[in-house]
């Protein structure tokens, strides 16, 4: 339905989007994920025809967005970031105006959309006087009014309070059942909750594109195990730890200072074991320590969250 083929966009010497390709099938809910300034908004602006690509092309149902764009724009409902709307209009007038722009002259449609987006109480208020949450809903109503096949929402929950976030998410889930939806966000849990598929963008490039469930499977099983003990050197610990199956790497760390039972100060030997695979290595570590007669002070496991996945993908080798 939406084909983005080798699309780039630069502003002067700055390349905001760099050779990006993906295709979105009808009915998919796709999350564009990335840190601020990664190129999410520019990508969306090219899909909606607000910006032309510098290279490559965007087609929707086989039609080039830069060519016959009026026909295509009719298929898309777009809510730009922070919903910039005419603040001097009252909500009802604004929705009637949008309906006319879309070629709908049916008062019933406007009130139906107002009902769906929960705008009933504020129909006669100035858009400029609305709270952020309500303005966002007017933006959603704007995008939904003509029943578009494709919905493009740029940061739909940014700047909302927790209750409003939940409401907007439920609304998106509801309307996404019958539509193709692209949302951008930098909140991971939102993607997990709403999207079938996630495309992670960093510095204008796609760094991951997979179904939301698989992303967790692919990266989520990694974990780190931190141990602190006494009675051995870091070298001995490293050698012993590496012999355990499933331990991919060992990094020595600075241990805590402690006072042992006989009253002398000592520094513990510490290290972090990177674990791959699903096997739990903690029993192995325990028996290793017991066999060698070491004393275990700490053993704590932390599984990699999606946040870690996101961080490692989007900081792109600058660290490590």
């Amino acid at each position: 339905m939406i084909e983005v083929e080798r699309v780039s966009r630069s502003f002067g010497s700055f390349t905001a989007v760099d050779d990006v390709s993906f295709s979105i099938r009808k009915g998919e809910i796709v999350g564009l994920l990335g840190p601020n300034g990664a190129g999410k908004t520019t990508t969306m602006r090219m899909i909606t025809g607000f910006l032309d690509p510098s290279a490559g092309k965007v087609t929707i149902d086989g039609m080039d967005i830069t060519g016959d764009s009026r026909e295509i724009k009719r298929k898309i409902g777009y809510m730009p970031e922070s919903a910039p709307l005419y603040s001097d209009m009252i909500v009802e007038d604004y929705l009637v105006y949008v309906a006319r722009m879309q070629g709908i002259d049916d008062a019933g449609k406007v009130s139906a959309i107002a009902g769906l987006t929960g705008l009933g109480d504020v129909m006669h208020k100035n858009i400029g006087d609305l709270s952020r949450g309500y303005r966002q809903r007017v933006g959603l109503a704007h995008a939904l009014l003509h029943d578009p096949e494709i919905l493009v929402l740029d940061e739909p929950t940014a700047g909302l309070d927790p209750n409003q976030i939940i409401e907007v998410r439920n609304l998106i889930k509801e309307i996404g059942r019958t539509r193709t939806v692209i949302i951008s966000t930098h909140i991971l849990s939102e993607v997990e909750m709403l999207c079938d598929r996630v495309i992670i963008i960093s510095r204008g490039k796609i760094v991951a594109d997979s179904p939301t469930g698989e992303l967790r499977q692919r990266f989520g099983h990694r974990a780190t195990l931190r141990v602190q003990l006494s009675g051995c050197t870091p070298d001995e610990l490293g050698k012993a730890a590496s012999s355990i199956g499933g331990v991919a790497a060992f990094t020595a760390e600075e241990g805590d200072e402690t006072v042992s039972t006989d009253g002398t100060k000592c520094v513990l030997t510490a290290g972090v074991l990177s674990i791959e695979g699903e096997r739990d290595v903690r029993p192995d570590v325990f028996s290793l320590v017991k066999d060698r007669g070491w004393i275990l002070y700490e053993m704590s496991i932390r599984s990699n969250s999606l946040e870690d996945v996101f961080r490692s993908l989007t900081t792109g080798g600058e660290e490590s």
Binding site: R45, F50, S54, R70, P80, P84, V98, M101, D105
Partner: protein, 240 residues
Amino acid sequence: MSRQHSVWSVIARRELAAYFASPVAYIVTGLFLAFSGFLFFSTFFLVNRAELRNFFGILPVMFAFFVPALTMRLFSEETRSGSLETLMTLPVSSADAVFGKFVSAFSFTAAMLVPTFVYAGTAFFLGDPDVGPMIGGYLGALFLAAGFSAIGLFASSLTKNQIVAFFIAFAICILLALIDSFLVIFPARVVGPLEFLSAGYHFQSIARGILDTRDLLYFASLTAFFLGLTVKALDARRAA
């Protein structure tokens, strides 16, 4: 029930409604009427001639100031607030947006002229004015309004700062309005072309009550040229 509106007319109606909701439009109208009223009545009884010549004589200069004040907001405010993005991703072309906004600015300027019928009425009440120049003057005023609105719209599409947009448009309009007053300082062979470029010259020619196709052609091309430039300016922003 499902009467279709053309997109530009929907935009024109929204913009016109925005004018009537905006204090700037009322201030501009008020100042225009106060200014033109003062010029009209202060000289009307002095000269003791029932005509609107003084009013129409100063109109190009007044429009050079007041029309940009009405048009400065049209695109620059949309750019500043970001609402241009919501507008341009609706099923509209750049030409729709430009033409709709142009029609609203032109209509509002035309509406601003309606109260000045009082001057015409006064002239008819107190004397027996020549109808030709009066009709010509109002017709010329409409042409002038169209041309200057297009210039103002173009200036507004160049910047997100309304004040900058105002001064760009004012500079172009005042130049076109006054260039024929400074022709004496130019060498003879450029006087002809410069005179043809002057909006003031063509306006005064229509205001004498003589309709010449050259004057109509001038205002039509002036308007079309700047509307075309505005469309280009909008498209250029989209392009890489």
